[in-house]
Amino acid sequence: MSAVSLRDVTFTYPGAAAPTLRHVNLEVAEGDFLAIMGANGCGKSTLCKTMNGLIPQFIVGDLEGSVTVAGTDVATAQIGELAQRIGYVYQDFENQLVRPTVIDEASFSCLNFAYDDYVERGMRALELCGLADRADSYIWQLSGGQKHLLALAGAIALEPDVIVLDEPVAQLDPYHADQTYKVLRELNEKYGKTVIVIEHHTDFIAEYCTSAALMANGTIAWKLPAHEALRRIDDLAASDVHPPQIALAGRELVRVGALPENTLLPTTVDEGATAFWGVPFIPRERAHAVHPVGESAVSFRHVDVSYRSVKGEPRRVFHDLNLEIRRGEKVALVGANGAGKSTLMKLMCGLVKPQAGEVVLGDVSTRDIGPDELSERVSLVYQNPEQMFIKDTIRADVEFAMRARGVADAAERAAALLDRFRLADLAGHDGRLLSGGQMRRASLAVGIALDPPILLLDEPTANLDIGTRQEITKLVSDLRGITDTVVIATHDMQLVCQFADRVIVLTDGEVIGDAAPDEVFMNEDVVMRSGIRPPEIFQMGRALDCRAACYTLDEFLSCFPAWVAAQRGEKNEIAVSGDRDGRECA
C-alpha cells in the first residue's frame, strides 16, 4: 500500500489566477525516503500541505483530485486523525514551537489528543531525536540545530507513519543538518517511517534518500531512485537545482572521451572514486597565498567576552582572543553554530564591548566611539534581512543612513545602489514582502550604502535556493573590487572557496585554524573539530589524490590532462573556424 498517494490533484489558492498544483500524481511507497526537488515557488510546500490536511481543511481554496495518507482520505478525515498519520516540520521551524519548555513542546500534540500518557510519549519522541537530556530546558536555551530536532520530536510524538520536512538543511549548519538527517535515517530504517523531505542539496539527497522527485510548474515531472534522479543533470539544472558537481565532472569526462560512453554518472565521492579510477589525474600545484602585510583594519587584543545568563554563571564566549585583520583582506569566518562567529562580528561593530582587552578599529578602540560613528567605519548586514528593514520602502531604507548623516546626493546614490542590485523596480516595496533573494539583495544594498571600509556579512547565503545562492555569491564576489575589507560568517563552503583568501575557523570561541582556504581544508584535524564540510568537489579531488585542492568544477577538471587537451583542441577549433568565417566574409 502507498503511504501517500495523490491522484490528479489540482489546487488553486483563493484569488490566484492560476493553479499552484496542476494534475499532480504521486505515489510514495511505505518506508520510502523521498526527496522532492524543484525551484522556489514551484509548489513544493503547497504539495506537502495537501498531504497533512492543512489544505483544504485549514487553508481554503479550490482542490480537485484525491489525496490519501496511509489509507485515510485527507479531505474528509478529522485533522486529529490525520495528525496521527503524518507529521510536518516547517522550514521556519522556530515559529512552529509554541510551548515554553522542551518536554511541553514535544508532548503538546499528545496532550491535545487526550493521551493519558502524553508525557511518556513526548519523552519517547525526545529520546528518538537525541534531546532527552534537554527535556526540562526552555526553548530559547536550545541552539538552532536542537530547535530543529525538537520540532521534529513534536511532529513524531503522535507516532505518525509519514514525516514531512520542508528544507531541513536551509536553516542549519552542515553539522546539524547531518544530525537531523541521521535521526531521519534511523526513523526510516529502524521504525519503518516514510520520510518526505523538500531538499535542494544534492549531496544530502545522494547520501540519505532512496528516491527523488522533481517538481516543475506545479506538477511532478518525474520520480526516480535517488541516484538515477541525480544523473538527470539537465532536468535538475533547468529547475534551479544544482546537480552534483561530481556528476557534472563525470559528464564532461565522458564528453571528451576520457570515460566510456556508457558510464553511469557518479553522484557521490565514493562512486566518483570508482568511476574516475584509472583516468590520469594530476593535481595542480597551487601557489600558496601570501599573507598580506598591510596595515591593520581590526585587531583584537586579549579580548574576553561573556554573556549574562539567566541562571547561574555567565557564559564565556571568548577568553584572551588575539586576532588581526588587515586592510584589504577577504576573510571567511567558519565554524558550527554557537562557536562565536556572531559575537566576533558584534565586537567589530561595537555592539558588544569586551569585558577585558580591546578591539581596535584602525586606530581607535571600539570603547571610545559610539555606534553611530562606528558605522562609518564598519557595516554589518544581519543574517535575518527582515531586521534591516526599518522603513516602509527599501528606497527609504537605503537612504536612511545617508540622510541621517546629511549626505547631499543621498537620493542619487540610493538610486544607483538599487540599480546595481537590480532592485529599481521594487524600490517602493516594503522589504519584508520581497522574496528571499530580493530581500537579501536589498539588505546588502542597505549595508554598503555608507561605503564602509569594512563590511561584515552574517550568513549572506543562508536560506536561499541554489539559484539565488549563486546570484548572491556572485554579488558578494563582485564586492571584492569595491569594499576594501570584507568579513563573512558562513557555513557555505562554496562561498568561502569563491570569495575568501583567508579562513578563520572558530570552535567554542577559540581560533583553531587561520590560513588560506587550502591549508584549512587540507588540515583534517581542523575539519573534524569544527564540523565544517568542504565542498564536494574538493573531497572528490582529495579522494583521487590527497594533494589536490580544487574548489570549482573547472579546477577539478583541469587536473585531468585528457580534459585539458580536449578543451585546448576545442578552443583551437573555434579559433580556426572563426578565422575561416572571417576570411569568407572578406
Binding site: N95, P100, R308, G370, P371, E386, Q387, A401
Partner: protein, 277 residues
C-alpha cells in the same frame, strides 16, 4: 565623576540588560520553593493578601502582612529590576503625597496615615509579584484554568512566555539597526541631552512598526502548527482539560505554606492586640 556614573548607568540600562532582566524574571526562578507550590493554593493566597489589607487599618497587622510578603518575594527570587520598579512606584507615590500634604498643614499624623496606605499598596503588589513572577507560566495558567478561566486565556499566558524571548531579540536587532544607521544627536550640552533623549524615545516608538510586521510574518507558521498539533481540537475536549488539571496536586508542602501564613496572620493580630492595650 558624574560623567562616569551616568555613562555606567546608561550602559546598564541597555535593551540587552532589560531583556536579561525580563527573561530572568520569567524563567530564572522556576526552582524556588514558591514555584514548586500548587498554583491554586498560591492564587487563593494571593486573593487573601490582595484584598484583605484594604479592609484593615491596624498598622501593626499591616506591617506584619508586609513583612510576610517581603519574605515570600525574597524566596521567589524576583528579578531586581521588577523590585526596583516596584520601589520607585510605591515610594514616589507616598513621598509625593506627603510633600503635598505638608502644604496643607500636614504633620506626623499625616505621615502615619500615609504609612497605612503605603503598606496596603506594598503588601498587595508584593503578593502579586510573588505569585505572578514566582510561578512558572505553565503552572500559573493551569491554576487559572482550574478556577474556570477560559482555556484561550491560559494558553495565551504560556504562549506569551514562549514568544517573549523572540520578541525581545527581534526588538533588540531592530533597535540596533537604528543605532547603527541612524545618528543620535550629540549629547554634551543640556539641550543636546534632551534632544538625545527625545531621539531615543522616538526610535523605540518607530521600532514598533517593523517589530509588529516581522512578528505578523512569523505567526503564519505558528497558527498552522497549532492547528496541526490539534490545539483547536483540544479546546472542545473535556478529557484534555481533565488530564491537564490532574497534574495539579496539593500536598504537605502546600499545607505547611498555608499553615505558616495563617499562623503569621494570627500572630500579627495577637501582637496588635497586645500593643494596642
Amino acid at each position: 565623576m558624574i560623567e562616569k556614573l551616568s555613562e555606567s548607568v546608561m550602559d546598564k540600562v541597555s535593551i540587552d540588560f532589560l531583556r536579561d532582566q525580563v527573561l530572568k524574571n520569567a524563567y530564572g526562578n522556576d526552582d524556588t520553593p514558591i514555584a514548586a507550590l500548587d498554583p491554586r493554593v498560591l492564587l487563593l493566597w494571593y486573593l487573601f493578601f490582595g484584598i484583605v489589607p484594604w479592609f484593615l487599618n491596624d498598622v501593626v497587622v499591616l506591617l506584619g502582612f508586609f513583612v510576610l510578603t517581603v519574605v515570600t518575594t525574597r524566596v521567589a527570587r524576583v528579578a531586581p529590576l521588577v523590585l526596583f520598579v516596584f520601589a520607585i512606584g510605591v515610594l514616589s507615590q507616598t513621598g509625593y503625597t506627603f510633600v503635598v500634604s505638608l502644604f496643607f498643614e500636614g504633620n506626623l499624623d499625616t505621615l502615619a496615615s500615609l504609612l497605612v496606605l503605603t503598606l496596603k499598596v506594598a503588601t498587595c503588589s508584593l503578593a502579586s509579584i510573588t505569585v505572578f513572577s514566582g510561578l512558572d507560566p505553565d503552572r500559573l495558567s493551569n491554576g487559572l484554568l482550574w478556577f474556570g478561566v477560559p482555556e484561550r486565556l491560559s494558553f495565551s499566558i504560556a504562549f506569551a512566555y514562549r514568544i517573549l524571548p523572540i520578541l525581545m531579540e527581534e526588538l533588540q536587532n531592530i533597535l540596533l539597526s537604528y543605532r547603527l544607521r541612524g545618528r543620535a544627536p550629540a549629547h554634551d550640552t543640556l539641550m543636546g541631552k534632551i534632544r538625545w533623549l527625545i531621539y531615543q524615545v522616538k526610535v523605540v516608538m518607530m521600532s514598533f512598526y517593523p517589530l509588529m510586521l516581522n512578528t505578523a510574518k512569523r505567526s503564519r507558521t505558528t497558527v498552522e502548527a497549532l492547528e496541526l498539533k490539534g490545539y483547536r481540537y483540544a479546546s472542545t475536549n473535556t478529557k484534555v482539560l481533565k488530564i491537564k488539571l490532574s497534574s495539579l496536586r496539593a500536598g504537605r508542602r502546600e499545607a505547611i505554606f498555608v499553615a505558616a501564613s495563617v499562623a503569621w496572620v494570627a500572630l500579627c493580630f495577637v501582637v496588635s492586640r497586645i500593643v494596642g492595650l
